[in-house]
């Protein structure tokens, strides 16, 4: 946890628990080592928590998919299949790690490592609790997405180093998807920055702490532009982490395993871990940007500690991811890119306009609240309808006819 | 931030600049030449940031702004350069720069 000048004593005990624990460990060490130990403790905690979360997620995913498809999912290993992740882990470790002879060994190894490194680095800036943030820098959001964009390199390395046409082509397609969705991803959270006029996440979360009319929390998602930005962010986050409708790169029905064909054993597991880490990092970002981070939904529930609220929101989002994976069919590469460039990018740009209008018309006074609302709604709905109509034009529904006419 | 570090940084940026220059001058593949140019641009940016730190009043962050604009322009330059490269490749089937000499006198 970052060095906090003073502990807010008036916070409830549970709220201050993690910091107290940390203090317990570090106050033995001499002064200069104090910050270093704090940093090390926060790193260890983050890695262990999210490592565990990865394991649970793999299980939860398979269980949810199963139940959605009216089947129980893994329940043999342990109580209700609880030990399944460990079983998978052991399987991955014991599997032989095959590396193609003509492959570029250095890059072949480096690809999963750099991917994992990049996705772990993104956890540094997400505020888990009131004072629980590993790195509180005032360009946190920019850092998050700068590091996030490094993942593409590793995908390319994976595709290239396996010296296999399929994997190279799959890597190119995966890159196309990643790059196409990186644009709407970044543009979609710019409205938050416009409103909060700061890049540091802790500041943004603290801005969302108030409650209007006692009931409605000041989360950005409840503002018209915020909701649109949240939706866009989630969709592009889905694509960015190769999940659900956009999981073309490592889909079974596609080019074998996409750019991961030549990977097996532990490197393959690393790729999956990196993917889940990316997913959790992005949803953590979504939570802190739009769902008010560690803020409680209503004033009466503030006694529950902030990091719990963060955990609840995070898990609900992850459940949403899995739910979407279970329900939506896969998109073709051209539909995917067209959807990004012709739908998401324009909508996010227009959302910038709506937020600008929202900010400028802020002090119109109560009398004008309704026309202000109406205008923003128009600015949102009209382009949505036009673009969606335009998106579908010229493409007939695809009909498959197996039997010869 | 004393004299010694300042000189060190300046030496660092000039070294980086010369490496970029040497690559552009020696490598035959156009991509590396372009990357060499990117390197030279970056060395210039380093200088900007270093000098901005030593500047007494920081009310106007001209250094940072300048670097921002240089990065933007370097990015667009790289994009156009590589596009040209691809177009050239379509035409002459090779990336080696010496072959693109139809215009010589």
């Amino acid at each position: 946890m970052s060095m906090l000048p003073i502990l807010q004593t008036q916070d409830p005990y549970l709220e201050r628990l993690p910091l107290l624990l940390r203090e317990a460990f570090t106050h033995y060490l001499p002064e200069p080592w104090h910050t270093l130990s704090n940093q090390l403790i926060s790193i260890v905690v983050i890695l262990s928590v999210f490592g565990l979360l990865f394991a649970i997620l793999t299980l939860a995913e398979r269980k949810i998919l199963g139940h959605v498809q009216n089947r129980p999912g893994p329940n043999r290993t342990g109580f209700f299949g609880m030990l399944q992740p460990f079983a998978d882990g052991i399987k991955m470790l014991t599997k032989e790690d095959i590396v193609p002879v003509a492959a570029d060994h250095v890059l072949h190894l480096l690809a999963p490592v750099s991917l994992l490194a990049a996705s772990i680095l993104t956890f540094a800036v997400i505020p888990y609790g009131k004072n629980l943030v590993a790195l509180d820098i005032n360009t946190a959001a920019l850092y998050f997405f700068a590091v996030g964009s490094a993942t593409e390199l590793s995908v390319f390395m994976a595709g290239w180093s396996s010296n296999n046409k399929y994997s190279l082509l799959a890597a190119m397609r995966a890159l196309a998807q990643l790059i196409s969705y990186e644009l709407p991803l970044i543009i979609s959270w710019i409205p938050v920055v416009m409103v909060a006029s700061t890049l540091s996440l802790t500041r943004i979360v603290s801005l969302q702490s108030g409650y209007s009319f006692g009931v409605l929390p000041h989360w950005y998602v409840f503002t018209p532009w915020g909701f649109v930005a949240f939706a866009l962010f989630m969709v592009s986050a889905l694509a960015e982490s190769n999940r659900s409708p956009f999981d073309l790169p490592e889909a079974e029905s596609e080019l074998i395993a996409g750019h991961l064909t030549e990977y097996s054993g532990f490197k393959y597991a690393l790729f999956f871990m990196a993917e889940y880490f990316g997913m959790t990092a992005l949803s953590g970002m979504a939570v802190s940007l739009f769902l008010g981070g560690w803020n409680a939904p209503s004033p009466y529930l503030t006694f529950i500690p902030s990091y719990l609220w963060f955990a609840v929101k995070l898990l609900s989002l992850l459940a949403g991811f899995m739910w979407i994976r279970a329900t939506f069919p896969r998109l073709r590469i051209d539909q995917l890119t067209r959807f990004a460039w012709k739908f998401l990018v324009p909508l996010s740009l227009i959302n910038l306009v709506t937020t600008a209008f929202w900010i400028l018309s802020q002090n119109w006074g109560h009398l004008y609240f309704i026309p202000r609302l109406i205008i923003t709604l128009i600015l949102i709905v009209v382009p949505y309808i036009l673009l969606s109509k335009k998106l579908g034009r010229g493409y007939a529904v695809r009909t498959y006819s197996y039997a010869p006419q | 931030m004393n004299d010694q570090t300042l000189n060190l940084c300046l030496l660092f940026s000039s070294a980086l600049f010369c490496i970029g220059l040497i690559t552009t001058l020696s490598r035959s593949s156009t991509i590396l030449i372009l990357l060499g140019i990117e390197l030279m641009l970056n060395s210039a940016n380093i200088n900007f940031i270093v000098f901005e730190r030593t500047q007494p009043d920081v009310s106007t962050s001209h250094g940072t702004l300048f670097v921002l604009f240089t990065i933007a322009i370097a990015a667009s330059e790289a994009a156009v350069g590589l596009a040209l490269l691809i177009a050239l490749f379509k035409h002459q089937r090779s990336v080696v720069i010496d072959e693109a000499s139809q215009l010589k006198g």
Partner: protein, 169 residues
């Protein structure tokens, strides 16, 4: 502070030198990524965060990707890779000019007396950069924006020129 500075400088210099001397293009581009990261670290040392992460985003995320794609799209049979005599002489010439330039700059740097009052300037916060960009340098921002869009459109046009016209030409 000095140690980290020295390390970053060392890493960047070595990585760039090695990157630009490799024969295999992909390796050199990826090694160059390390140089960019080194430079980003250099900026962080001078706590210019915004610049560091922009640099990271632009160079590592975008430019190296474009370079890699360029390498992919212009792959040629590896026959002409051997180091012929002509490129060696060229390298020597390049080395000479580069070193003479470096010695000139080093001479200049070492012999100029740096400005007297070297107060540790406060880093420019994101807010001040944003304010300045949108107020004083708004036109410059607009121009760079349009420049970037134009550059992208241009490069797309250039690169996406349909190959079949080449066949029949």
């Amino acid at each position: 502070m000095n140690a980290t500075l020295l390390i970053t400088i060392g890493v960047t210099l070595i990585s760039s030198a090695v990157a630009l001397s490799l024969r295999n293009l992909i390796h050199s581009v990826l090694l160059l990524v390390i140089t960019w990261i080194g430079i980003c670290a250099f900026y962080l040392i001078f706590n210019a965060e915004f610049i560091a992460f922009t640099q990271l985003l632009v160079y590592v995320g975008a430019i190296s990707m474009v370079a890699l794609f360029a390498v992919l799209l212009t792959r040629v049979a590896p026959s002409t890779n051997q180091r012929n005599k002509q490129s060696v002489t060229r390298f020597i010439y390049a080395l000479i000019t580069g070193l003479s330039l470096f010695s000139l700059m080093a001479f200049a740097v070492l012999h100029t007396d740096s400005p007297k009052e070297k107060v540790e300037a406060l880093p420019a916060t994101v807010y001040s950069i944003g304010k300045e960009l949108t107020e004083e340098y708004a036109p410059a921002l607009m121009i760079t924006g349009s420049l970037l869009t134009l550059a992208i459109l241009g490069s797309v046009l250039l690169a996406a020129h349909s190959p079949q016209s080449k066949e029949n030409s």
